[in-house]
Symmetry: C2
Subunit: 427 residues, 2 copies
């Protein structure tokens, strides 16, 4: 028997804005940051639970304070009991009525709950000696369903339907796990496409992406139409017709403007159009999707909770579900979203980049492949080159494919030196 004895939070910031890395039409100067959490126990194994919420600078201190509030409640808890019922823990935290008022189920407080939930999953995976994707992919369908809160989902997905989806995928698990370990999972790269990059840099990085084996790149758009036309022409010219090009407007447009703009860019053969408008606007996404069909619309990286994803799917508002590792309330809620996507037959292509989002989110796609959708078709994980060196187990890519991580845990643990060197002490 062991107990959660302490936690530490760290306000980690990187001055990425100086390089225009990560610049897009809505986020001109992000300073990639992490509101970081480390949970410790008195168990002899010495394992810790690590997790973070990704932010882009100002306000990271508020996110840290919110994590403090939730993490404090873990102190003194029995580790085994807690890790044996992470579905119960999720419900306890998300349905705490006083904390819930601050969302409900969205924004700073919801992401703080996510950090604590994710740190506990990290601890659970390390104790099991497995990377998170493998831990999840080896749980029974019943155990997986018990992790999910079906409140507000039952009109689209019942526990029985979720169980059936997972059971259907059960026979092929071992074979797909072997396949994943052998050949990895497709990635695509956003590295060439940041809005602040020059045309020359775009061209060079697009070429390098193809040389590196990527079959899809993504460009940021939405600031000036003439720039988008020019940059898409450069990119298409450089990569040729065989490489997929997605674009990302980062919420820049209103509904009708999105339709007009996308129609203007459609000749470049778009793999998808990401975040055309407000991430909250289900009806506008659905209207845009209908108007520009067959161009696929993608969204989700700012999707606040499972209720939003449910509606996006019900309304046919998104052809690609882009989960994020730290936007919702942790592993459990992302499993709920994966189940919803599977129910509607919509592929999941996670959002990544930032600080450690690649390291974290890959686990969900790999779990999905082994134990749920059973497919890599039309699916890939976003990749950018930044900041991997700060993680204990950086992602490994080979010819544009993510190799399955083998290090136990959820992938979110940062190196002690990085935590020390990038700790913000005053703001």
């Amino acid at each position: 028997m062991s107990t959660v004895t302490a936690f530490e939070t760290v306000d980690v910031r990187f001055e990425t804005s100086a390089m225009l890395d990560g610049s897009d039409a809505m986020n001109p100067d992000p300073d990639y940051s992490a509101a970081y959490l480390r949970l410790t126990t008195d168990a002899a194994d010495g394992h810790e639970g690590h997790a973070f919420v990704f932010t882009i600078g100002r306000g990271n201190d508020i996110q840290v304070a919110a994590i403090d509030t939730v993490a404090r409640r873990m102190i003194g808890r029995d580790v085994e009991d807690t890790l044996d019922d992470l579905g119960g823990l999720w419900r306890e935290l998300v349905h705490d009525s006083q904390l819930r008022w601050l969302g409900p189920e969205k924004g700073v407080m919801h992401m703080a709950i996510g950090a604590v939930v994710n740190a506990l999953w990290d601890l659970k995976a390390k104790r099991a000696g497995l990377p998170l994707w493998q831990l999840l992919a080896r749980m029974t369908p019943e155990e997986l369903v018990s992790l999910v809160d079906f409140r507000y989902l039952s009109d689209a997905l019942t526990p029985e339907e979720a169980l059936a989806l997972l059971r259907t995928a059960q026979p092929g698990r071992a074979q797909r796990e072997a396949e994943l370990l052998a050949t990895g999972y497709p990635g695509y790269t956003t590295t060439p496409g940041w809005l602040g990059y020059s045309d020359d840099k775009l061209r060079r990085l697009a070429r390098e992406a193809v040389d590196d084996g990527f079959t899809q790149i993504k460009l940021k758009v939405g600031d000036r139409l003439e720039d988008d036309l020019r940059r898409l022409a450069i990119a298409r010219d450089e990569v040729g017709p065989g490489i997929r090009i997605a674009i990302d407007a980062n919420q820049r447009w209103d509904r009708d403007q999105a339709i007009e703009w996308i129609r203007a860019l459609q000749p470049f053969d778009l793999a998808w159009v990401e975040e055309p408008t407000s991430p909250d606007d289900i009806l506008a996404h659905a209207a845009i999707a209908r108007a520009v069909a067959p161009v696929p619309i993608a969204t989700g990286e700012h999707g606040m909770n499972r209720v939003l994803f449910k509606q996006l799917l019900q309304a046919g508002a998104t052809a690609i579900v882009q989960i994020d590792a730290t936007r919702v309330a942790g592993v459990n809620e992302n499993i709920a979203i994966l189940l919803l996507a599977a129910k509607f037959g919509v592929p999941v292509c996670p959002h990544a980049g930032g600080v450690g989002l690649c390291e974290a989110v890959q686990h969900f796609s790999m779990f999905d492949f082994v134990a749920l959708s059973g497919s890599q078709e039309g699916r890939m994980i976003e990749y950018t080159t930044h900041l991997h060196e700060h993680f204990v187990a950086p992602v490994r890519l080979e010819r544009g494919r993510y190799l399955a991580p083998l290090t136990p845990g959820n992938g979110m643990e940062m190196r002690a030196e990085s935590l020390r060197d990038h700790r913000m002490t005053a703001w």
Copy 2:
């Protein structure tokens, strides 16, 4: 010329859970709280700007910290310039890309921006010597439209349409202002209906509400159907057929459960059914509204931003728009929501209660009556009896009607003794 020189935030808490005041199916033990802000300037007039975010206890400290982050940015600003362009200030704060990442436009950070915006409106109203409703109702249509950010709204409401709505109401302003000052604005009371109250207390308070002149009461429901049937029978028996009874499920149900439950309660002649399910679930609200028509569905007190309200109206998901004074980003966003409601011809019946929400939200209904919808038909402001004594200018009701406040400001200023006595110093 004067400058914003300082601010103070206070974590104010009341132990309301001990009395079961405010208890409902989702919030069994709220401790009504306020994350409170006071802005000061070096102007000779000595006026201050006060505002707060209402919460129900735990996490109020996080809300305070978020307000600190935003309020700090006001220090050193020119007061006149700032108050002359509160539309510009709103855009600056809400579109700060780094802070926006923490929502976007929802939850703790969005409400913090709301507190700062509201404190500036309080200051502006005090300097004008007018209560907020009157300050707003005397602004020109052009000035009012300039306060609103139409991003993500243009598919439902353009600036030109907003201007036309306000201009149409302009001729009758003076007459309606006189009418409001003479006879006030309808209220309804939730005091009898808290879920934790005994049947006897419900019966007694329902009787008192009618004796006090209220023409509508509201009951909390959604915990156990048999309790709801019994309590509605008691209430209907006590008040008779001439008094409207609304019910409030506080987000307790899933879609199909809501439909079934509402049908069971329909015989009691329901004025409206409030928050049947997740406040984020536009599609479920629309489906419920269609299924139980003509029973009106109401929602909005947890509506996170104007994009949500737009969709609720577009989808026919709500027959009554229930704005809240501190859930969105302040006065400007509530004006946007009032304009949307006017465009769709849907009445606004604000959420109130808690700490000071009655004092704050009445200004929006009164502004709407004088300068926008021009009507009190089907409209009323929620009222509960708690905690008014802590405010410098408590609401005044007469025969179930809110009298127009005459004290300059936004109504949110608490008494200095209350701030001192209910300040939380450790948690």
